[in-house]
C-alpha cells in the first residue's frame, strides 16, 4: 500500500507512489519505447542466493552520483526504518542504507528481480498454514560503527513497526498489526506499560514470528526496512535523523526534505549481501527542487553523473522536440489512480458506470500536464490495458475491459446520459462533487476538464479547490468539512510487492484506510478472507477473478490511469534500472559511474 504523494494528476491527486511495489523488473537502460511499456511478470524467489551480488557487466567503482528528486517529491521527512513507506524513500533506504530480513536481487542479464535472503540465511521457514515463520540470521553482519547486529536488535526493530502513533506513515499499520498474533493490541516498545511482545521470539540467532492469521507473504514483507534491526537504545522520534546503517553506504549528512549525502560504509561485508553493490564513492540526493531545472540538467548533460527520479511531461516533450531526449527513459510504475464514488452516497451501479463514461480521460491528463499513453494510460490509450484495479504486470491480472450496455468504457457523454437515465435521472438532476488540488495551474486545469466532462454527460457538478495540503487529508478524514460535501473521492495506489494481496484489500476491504469510497460488501469481504486461506499458488488467480467480479458487479472505482514515470539518466551513469519492486525508482544498487 504505497499511496502516491498527491500531485496534480488526472484524478487530481496522486503521484509519487508510496508503496513498496514489487513487480518484476523491467525498463532496462536501453528501453526507449515511447508507448506504455508493459511490466514483466513478477520475479521468483531464490532462497539459496549468497553474497556477493552478481557483478553488473561493465561496472566500475568510484565516482560521485547526484540524484535529483524534484518537486512535488520532497523526500524523506525522517529516515526511521519503521516509518519508511514511499517509493523515493524506500528505494534509497533499501538499496543503500538498511538491510532487512529479505530483499530483491536483480539478474544483470534479464533485468528480472528475484526475492532473496538478506539478513536471514534463507527466505524463512513457515509452518503448514503460514501462521508461524522462522528466520535464522547470518553471522558477521555489522553496524556502521563495527558492532555486530544481534537478533534482539532485529526483534526491537520489528516491534517498533507496531507503533502506529509514532510511525503512522509506516507499513506496520497494514501488515504488522493485522497479521502478527496480538499485533492489533500491541503498540510497540515505546508505548507506556509496554511489555515483551510474545509474537516475536528470539532463540540465539533465530527469530520465530507468530501470526494471528495465515500470512504466506511474510517473506515479501521482509523487504521493508521496518523488518530489520534498530539499536536497542534508539529514541523514537529522533532516530530517523541519524540512523545507523547496515548497508553499503552510511549517512554523512542529512537535512530532512532537503538533502542527503551518503558515503561508503566500510563495515559492510559484500560476502554477506546477495543484492547490493558499492560502486560509486558517494550518493548525493537533493529533494524538492525545480522539476524543469532537474530535467534540464540531464537534457543538457551538464550533470553527466546525475539521475532524476521524475521528469515532467512538458520537459520531456521539450527535450524530444529538440532531439535531446537520449538521457530520458520511460519506465512503468505498478500504480493505479482511481476516482472512488462514495459508496454510501452514490448507490446506483448505473450512476457509477455512467461516471466511467463521463470522465474525459485524455483531456484531463493533458490539462494536468501528463502525456496520455506515456505517463498515464489505461484502456483509452490501449485496449489491452483495460480499466481494472490491478496495474499491468501483476500476477493473476486479466485486463478488465467489458462492454457496459453494449459499449466498452471511453469518454462518451451520450452513453453516460443513457446510463443515468436507466438509473432514473434526467440530465442535470444528479449532482457530483469533488475536491481538486488548487495549488498549481495544472491541478485546476485538470479539474476544469473533469467538470466539463461530467456536465456534458448530464451531471451537475460542484468542485472545491483545496490548497491546504494533500488531497488525502480530505479523502481519508470523515470529519473534514469538505469530506462531507463531496461524493467523489480518490486514491492512487501502488503495490507493495507483486501480489494482488497488496492491492485489492487496501482498496476494497470494508474500513481500509485508503478505501476512500467506503466500498463495503460483506460478500466481497468474505471472499477476500477465503482467498487468503487458499494454497499460495492459487491465490493470484483467485484475486484476479475477484477483481473482475467486483468491477463488473459493483464498479466501486473508476480507473483514471495507470502510471508510468520518466527518468533522467546522465550519460556518465551506467547500470541504470527502473526498480519496479519499490514502485518505479532508479535502482541505486546497480548504478555506477562510467
Amino acid at each position: 500500500m504505497r499511496r502516491k504523494k498527491a500531485l496534480v494528476a488526472g484524478i487530481s491527486a496522486a503521484a509519487l507512489a508510496l508503496t513498496l511495489a514489487a513487480c518484476g523488473g523491467s525498463g532496462g537502460g536501453d528501453d526507449k519505447s515511447d508507448g506504455f511499456t508493459n511490466v514483466e511478470g513478477a520475479g521468483g524467489k531464490n532462497p539459496d542466493a549468497k553474497g556477493p551480488a552478481p557483478e553488473v557487466p561493465g561496472a566500475k567503482t568510484g565516482g560521485d552520483i547526484t540524484v535529483l528528486a524534484p518537486d512535488p517529491d520532497d523526500g524523506p521527512t525522517s529516515l526511521d526504518p519503521a516509518g519508511l513507506w514511499s517509493v523515493t524513500d524506500n528505494a534509497i533506504a533499501q538499496d543503500l542504507l538498511f538491510r532487512s530480513l529479505t530483499t530483491w536481487q536483480q539478474d544483470p542479464d534479464t533485468g528480472e528481480y528475484t526475492l532473496v535472503p538478506d539478513l536471514a540465511t534463507d527466505l524463512g521457514t513457515p509452518n503448514s498454514d503460514f501462521t508461524e515463520w522462522k528466520f535464522t540470521l547470518k553471522d558477521g553482519i555489522k553496524w556502521e560503527n563495527g558492532d555486530p547486529v544481534t537478533a534482539e536488535e532485529v526483534k526491537f526493530g520489528m516491534e517498533r513497526s507496531f507503533d502506529a502513533d509514532t510511525f503512522a506513515t509506516g507499513p506496520g499499520t497494514s501488515y504488522s498489526k493485522p497479521y502478527f498474533l496480538g499485533g492489533d493490541k500491541y503498540n510497540g516498545p515505546y508505548a507506556s506499560g509496554a511489555k515483551d511482545f510474545p509474537a516475536i521470539q528470539v532463540d540465539g540467532n533465530t527469530l520465530t514470528l507468530k501470526m494471528a492469521k495465515p500470512f504466506p507473504e511474510m517473506d515479501y514483507y521482509g523487504i521493508f526496512p521496518a523488518m530489520g534491526p534498530v539499536p536497542l537504545d534508539a529514541k523514537a522520534p529522533d532516530y530517523g535523523l541519524k540512523p545507523l546503517s547496515t548497508g553499503p553506504y552510511k549517512i554523512q549528512s542529512y537535512e530532512p526534505n532537503q538533502k542527503l549525502v551518503l558515503v561508503k560504509n566500510d563495515q559492510w561485508d559484500p560476502a554477506t549481501d546477495p543484492a547490493r553493490h558499492q560502486y560509486a564513492d558517494t550518493f548525493t540526493f537533493e529533494f524538492g527542487g525545480d522539476p524543469t531545472v532537474a530535467a534540464k540538467t540531464v537534457e543538457s548533460d551538464s550533470g553527466s553523473t546525475t539521475l532524476v527520479t521524475n521528469v515532467e511531461g512538458q520537459d520531456y516533450t521539450a527535450a524530444k522536440q529538440a532531439g535531446n531526449d537520449q538521457n530520458m527513459i520511460v519506465g512503468p510504475q505498478p500504480c493505479t489512480s482511481f476516482v472512488m464514488p462514495n459508496y454510501d452516497k452514490v448507490k446506483e451501479l448505473q450512476v457509477r458506470q455512467a461516471l466511467a463514461f463521463a470522465y474525459p480521460y485524455e483531456d484531463v491528463w493533458s490539462a494536468a500536464g501528463e502525456l496520455p499513453g506515456v505517463t498515464r494510460a489505461n484502456g483509452v490509450t490501449d485496449d489491452t490495458l483495460g480499466f481494472g484495479l490491478l496495474p499491468p504486470g501483476m500476477a493473476g491480472r486479466k485486463a478488465w475491459n467489458p462492454e457496459i450496455d453494449g459499449e466498452t468504457i471511453q469518454y462518451d457523454p451520450e452513453h453516460a446520459k443513457q446510463l443515468l437515465k436507466e438509473a432514473g435521472y434526467d440530465p442535470g438532476e444528479y449532482e457530483v462533487s469533488f475536491v481538486y488540488d488548487a495549488t498549481t495551474p495544472q491541478g485546476k486545469a485538470g479539474a476544469e476538464q473533469r467538470k466539463l466532462g461530467y456536465e456534458k454527460s448530464g451531471f451537475s457538478v460542484k468542485m472545491y479547490p483545496y490548497t491546504a495540503g494533500s488531497l488525502y487529508d480530505v479523502w481519508t478524514d470523515p470529519n473534514n468539512k469538505l469530506y462531507k460535501k463531496i461524493n467523489l473521492l480518490g486514491t492512487a495506489w501502488c503495490q507493495d510487492w507483486p501480489s494482488p494481496a497488496t492491492f485489492l484489500p487496501p482498496i476494497l476491504e470494508t474500513g481500509a484506510a485508503y478505501n476512500t469510497g467506503n466500498f463495503s460488501e460483506s460478500s466481497v469481504d468474505d471472499q477476500m478472507n477465503e482467498i487468503r486461506t487458499l494454497p499460495v499458488d492459487q491465490q493470484a488467480d483467485a484475486w484476479g477473478e475477484l477483481e473482475q467480479k467486483v468491477m463488473t458487479d459493483y464498479q466501486p472505482v473508476i480507473n483514471v490511469g495507470y502510471y508510468q514515470g520518466i527518468f533522467g539518466v546522465g550519460s556518465g551513469i551506467g547500470g541504470f534500472n527502473n526498480d519496479t519492486t519499490v514502485g518505479g525508482a532508479p535502482d541505486y544498487r546497480t548504478t555506477y559511474v562510467k
Binding site: T317, E362, D363, A367, G446, Q449, Y466
Partner: protein
C-alpha cells in the same frame, strides 16, 4: 510598496510652488486694483493647469497615456472585446485544440500558423483561449490596482492631514501606527492570510473567489497607505504655519473646512504623483502574488498564466511572452507617466 520618488519630491518642491497656489486659492484676497489685469495673466493658470500643459508637450507622457488608455479600454470593454474576437475563457475539451501526444496546441502557435479564431493562440495542456485569458487578466490587474490605489491614497490622505494639522497627541499616535505598519513584512501577511481564507471558505468556492479578491485589495491597502500618509503629514505640517491657513483659523473656519478647502488643494500635486507611481506597483504586486499562488482565485490573472507558462518557455514561448509583455508594458507606461507627472508638477524643472 514605497513611493520614494514622490515623497522626496513633495518635501523639496512645495515651498516654491506655494506662492502661485496662494494666488489661485485666494483670488478674492489678493486683489489690488491697479495691477489686476497684469496679475490675472499670471494667475490665470493654476499649477495643475501648468502641469497639464507641460505634460501635453512631453512626447513620452503622451505615448504613455495612449498605451495606458489602450489597457483601460481593454479592461473596461473586456466582454465586448471577447465577443468581437469570438473568444472566451470557457473550458473546452482539451483534445479539441491540443495534440495529446505532446500537450501542445494543434492550432495556432507554436507549431502552426496564425489562427484568426485564436489570435493569441491557445494554452498548451487544456486548450483555453489565450486572448480571452489575457483580456480578463488585464481587467483583473487594472481593477485591483485601481481599487487598491484609491483605497490606500484615501486612507493616507485623511490620516496624514489629521496628523500633520492637528499635531500633538493625534500626530504621535498616527505616526506610531505609520511606523508600525511600515515594519510589518507585507509578503508574510499575504502568505499567512491566504490559507486562513481558504480554510474558512473551503466549502463555498464561489464566495471564496469574491472574498479572496477583496481581501487581496485590503492587504494591499493595509500595507500601502503609509507612504501617502507620511507625505501628506509632512506637507500639512509645513502648510499649517502659513499665513492663509492661520488667517482662516483666526476668522473661525471649522477645522474640517481648513483641512479640505485650504490645505488639501495645495497637496494635489504630490498626491497625483503618488497615485501615478502607486498604480504600477500594485499591478506588479498582484501578478507577483498570483504567481506565488496567493493571489486572486476564481479570476484570470496574468500572474497565474505566467506561473503556468514558465514550464513551456522552450516549446511555446508565445504563451509566456503574452502576459509578461502585458505586465511589462503596462508597468513601464505607468511608471514613465508617473515620472512625467512628477516632473510636470515639480517647479524645480520649470524654466
Amino acid at each position: 510598496m514605497r513611493h520614494v520618488p514622490a515623497a522626496a519630491f513633495g518635501n523639496e518642491g512645495m515651498g516654491m510652488s506655494l506662492p502661485v497656489i496662494d494666488l489661485s486659492s485666494h483670488e478674492d484676497a489678493a486683489t489690488s486694483p491697479g495691477s489686476e489685469v497684469e496679475r490675472k495673466e499670471i494667475a490665470g493658470r493654476s499649477p495643475t493647469r501648468i502641469a497639464f500643459d507641460r505634460l501635453r508637450k512631453d512626447p513620452v507622457a503622451v505615448i504613455c497615456v495612449v498605451v495606458i488608455l489602450f489597457f483601460i479600454v481593454v479592461a473596461v470593454f473586456a466582454p465586448l472585446l471577447e465577443k468581437l474576437f469570438g473568444v472566451s475563457t470557457d473550458t473546452v475539451l482539451a483534445s479539441t485544440r491540443v495534440d495529446l501526444v505532446t500537450g501542445l496546441p494543434k492550432i495556432g502557435p507554436p507549431n502552426h500558423g496564425f489562427d484568426p479564431d485564436h489570435p493569441f493562440g491557445v494554452a498548451p495542456g487544456d486548450g483555453t483561449d489565450n486572448l480571452a485569458v489575457w483580456i480578463e487578466g488585464c481587467r483583473t490587474s487594472l481593477y485591483l490596482a485601481t481599487v487598491a490605489t484609491v483605497g490606500s491614497t484615501a486612507i493616507g490622505i485623511v490620516l496624514g492631514l489629521l496628523a500633520g494639522f492637528l499635531g500633538g497627541i493625534v500626530d504621535t499616535i498616527i505616526s506610531f501606527f505609520i511606523d508600525l505598519f511600515l515594519t510589518f513584512p507585507f509578503l508574510l501577511a499575504a502568505l499567512s492570510v491566504a490559507p486562513i481564507l481558504n480554510e474558512r471558505y473551503a466549502t463555498e468556492p464561489d464566495k471564496l473567489a469574491v472574498v479572496s479578491f477583496y481581501v487581496l485589495v485590503a492587504i494591499l491597502v493595509f500595507f500601502g497607505w503609509m507612504t501617502v500618509a507620511r507625505l501628506v503629514r509632512g506637507e500639512a505640517l509645513a502648510l499649517r504655519e502659513r499665513e492663509f491657513v492661520k488667517a482662516a483659523r483666526v476668522i473661525g473656519v471649522p477645522t474640517w473646512q481648513v483641512l479640505f478647502k485650504e490645505i488639501l488643494p495645495n497637496l494635489l500635486a504630490p498626491i497625483i504623483v503618488s497615485i501615478s507611481l502607486g498604480l504600477p506597483t500594485f499591478v506588479a504586486l498582484e501578478a507577483g502574488l498570483s504567481y506565488l499562488g496567493i493571489g486572486v482565485t476564481g479570476r484570470e490573472s496574468w500572474g497565474v498564466t505566467i506561473n503556468a507558462a514558465t514550464k513551456y518557455w522552450e516549446t511555446y514561448p508565445q504563451y509566456l511572452l503574452e502576459p509578461v509583455l502585458g505586465i511589462a508594458i503596462l508597468v513601464v507606461a505607468l511608471n514613465l507617466l508617473g515620472d512625467a507627472v512628477r516632473d510636470a508638477f515639480d517647479p524645480k524643472t520649470r524654466r
